[in-house]
């Protein structure tokens, strides 16, 4: 109950900060930039390794998937850490921990409320990204059926449903980045360090994933889980269940470490 009450206020605090709305605005601009570029430039396309790439200007359901693929390298860690990397360190910046730690809600409840709020923001970002890209694509190309990677043909409505599931699946690795950002925000007490640290964490893992000779291990590395949604479109070798398991482990480790630091820390200094 205390967690939920604190969570309510964490979300209200987020809603009152410019940073929150800047992130959402960036997601809208990111989606619109793709729609406009593909609509205005003749013979424009997206890389062929993105599922259904050839159909991107034929039906509205492909562009949202392209946005997911492009976001993996840089966009996902930046947007997820924008709020998650600030959610604890901003308390240090405002020096407000000394005020909230002397009320009747435990430090643990406050921490998990912050985690929930950061995850909520991740969901909000993905929702905005999905909604903007779908609306923009619908206006540009209309809703038509699509042919999946395994040759099945699905109606526009069904493909739209698969898109929504793909975005939900993408939240799994995004939760890992949120966990890392919250941990870094707790430990460094510095928002910029937490955001940069999360980007470095993501890039480092992606670097490891392309090393030669680790083909077997690659499926268990965190960046691979960004591709789990492709199984919805008939791509062999990806599994949402496995992604859920792996992401749970990758997310819980930093979150639990951050929780230990948060509940044990001294609140000293001005």
């Amino acid at each position: 109950m205390n967690v939920l009450r604190a969570y309510g206020w964490e979300t209200r605090k987020l809603a009152r900060q410019k940073r929150t709305w800047s992130g959402l605005a960036a997601a809208v601009l990111y989606a619109l930039a793709f729609v406009l570029t593909l609509s205005l430039k003749r013979n424009a396309g997206i890389p062929p390794d993105i599922p259904l790439a050839k159909q991107v200007t034929q039906t509205a359901v492909v562009l949202p998937l392209a946005l997911l693929a492009f976001a993996t390298f840089f966009g996902a860690p930046v947007i997820s850490s924008l709020v998650a990397g600030d959610i604890v360190s901003s308390e240090d910046a405002n020096n407000t921990l000394k005020m909230i730690f002397t009320r009747s809600t435990t430090r643990g409840a406050i921490y998990w409320a912050k985690v929930l709020a950061a995850v909520t923001y991740g969901v909000a970002l993905m929702t905005v990204l999905f909604a903007t890209s779908i609306i923009g694509s619908l206006i540009a190309w209309g809703l038509h059926g699509a042919t999946l990677l395994d040759g099945r043909h699905v109606s526009g409505g069904n493909a739209l449903g698969l898109d929504a599931l793909a975005y939900l699946t993408y939240l799994l690795p995004l939760a890992v980045l949120i966990g890392v950002a919250v941990f870094l925000s707790t430990v460094t007490r510095n928002s910029a360090a937490a955001i940069v640290g999360t980007v470095i964490f993501s890039l480092a893992f992606q670097g490891i994933a392309v090393l030669p000779g680790i083909k077997q291990a690659k499926d268990w590395l965190f960046p691979k889980q960004f591709e789990a949604w492709e199984s919805l479109f008939g791509h062999a070798g990806d599994s949402i269940g496995r992604a859920a398991l792996i992401c749970a482990v990758y997310a819980l480790v930093p979150l639990l470490a951050g929780w230990i630091v948060f509940v044990r820390r001294d609140v000293a200094g001005a």
């Binding site: 205390n2 009450r5 604190a6 309510g8 206020w9 209200r12 605090k13 009152r16 900060q17 405002n94 020096n95 407000t96 000394k98 005020m99 909230i100 730690f101 002397t102 009320r103 009747s104 809600t105 435990t106 406050i110 001294d266 609140v267 000293a268 001005a270």
Partner: protein, 303 residues
């Protein structure tokens, strides 16, 4: 009045060290129900560090702390009847004053709007309640900090330099507010460097210097511990000095008169003796030493 049981504050042998420096060195404090207890000391004496340990914000290296019999290091349950702040109170600058109080109230388990209005009224911030705290002056934030503390209906209020940033009228109002708290069953632990302020409202004091308690007790005990002084002016100070020394009364020349340190019976004997020797007394009065004098004497002696 003692709430959950035990004294509002009982601290024994409290120690906090930062490397080789002992910020708090075996401090003992007892704040009794209904006290307005002044916690005095120069900057860096360890006052705020002690208050942080009382509020469970930092861990101690030794000793014990009990608030109404409960140890704040074991969990926030010990703060059930306790409220306050250390250094300046801080808030979320992008939320209004009212929203900040509602947030704190939510963390206390929920608070209704009427109660928030009441405390805002008490600190005279109701007309600015809708404004963002980022636009508040230092004094307004200080008053909002008091409101945030009162919101919990505490039995023990811990205030660290609450008059910081307040104008003279604000200080007067703060003094009145604090002076009335014991009537409502609230005990106050009041840390301040404004000695006159403490002298005005506090019933008991502790003076801390270099992390150690130099004095703890009633203000009258503190004054008494340094002896009673009198100012004497006579028609012949030279002869009066001789008479005092004959009676083994401590006497010194001070500010165009004489200063005596003696108990009342010695003063009685001296006045009779001055009369017997024909030395006219023009002025004789007991001198009240200010807390500030005593404070400096204690802290400088210890240093």
């Amino acid at each position: 009045m003692t709430g959950a049981g035990g004294m509002p504050v009982e601290v024994r042998g409290l120690v906090k060290a930062y490397g080789p420096i002992r910020a708090v060195d075996h401090v003992d404090l007892t704040v009794e129900p209904g006290d307005i207890y002044g916690y005095l000391g120069p900057n860096g004496a360890g006052k705020t560090t002690t208050l942080r340990m009382l509020l469970g914000l930092i861990r101690r290296d030794g000793g014990s702390v009990a608030l109404f019999g409960r140890d704040p290091a074991r969990g926030i349950e010990a703060l059930e009847h306790v409220a306050g702040f250390v250094e300046s109170p801080t808030f979320y600058p992008y939320l209004s004053g009212r929203e900040n109080l509602q947030l704190f109230g939510a963390l206390d388990g929920g608070v209704d709007r009427t109660r928030v209005d009441e405390v805002l009224e008490q600190v005279e911030l109701r007309n600015r309640a809708r404004d963002r705290v980022g636009t508040y002056s230092l004094g307004m934030r200080q008053r909002l900090g008091i409101a945030a503390a009162l919101l919990r209906d505490p039995k023990l209020l811990i205030l660290d330099e609450p008059a910081n940033g307040l104008d003279p009228a604000g200080i007067r109002d703060m003094r009145t507010l604090i002076a009335n708290l014991p009537d409502r069953g609230v005990t106050v632990l009041y840390s301040s460097h404004l000695l006159a302020e403490v002298e005005e409202v506090c019933t008991r004091v502790a003076i801390v210097n270099d992390g150690r308690i130099a004095f703890e007790g009633q203000l009258d005990e503190l004054r008494g511990s340094f002896g009673v002084s009198y100012r004497l002016e006579t028609a012949d100070d030279q002869a009066a000095t001789t008479a005092a020394r004959d009676l083994e009364v401590s006497i010194a020349v001070a500010d165009g008169g004489l200063s005596l340190e003696a108990d009342p019976s010695a003063i009685d004997r001296l006045t009779v003796e001055l009369g017997r020797r024909g030395i006219a007394i023009r002025y004789l009065a007991r001198q009240q030493r200010s807390l500030e004098d005593l404070f400096f004497q204690l802290t400088e002696e210890a240093s």
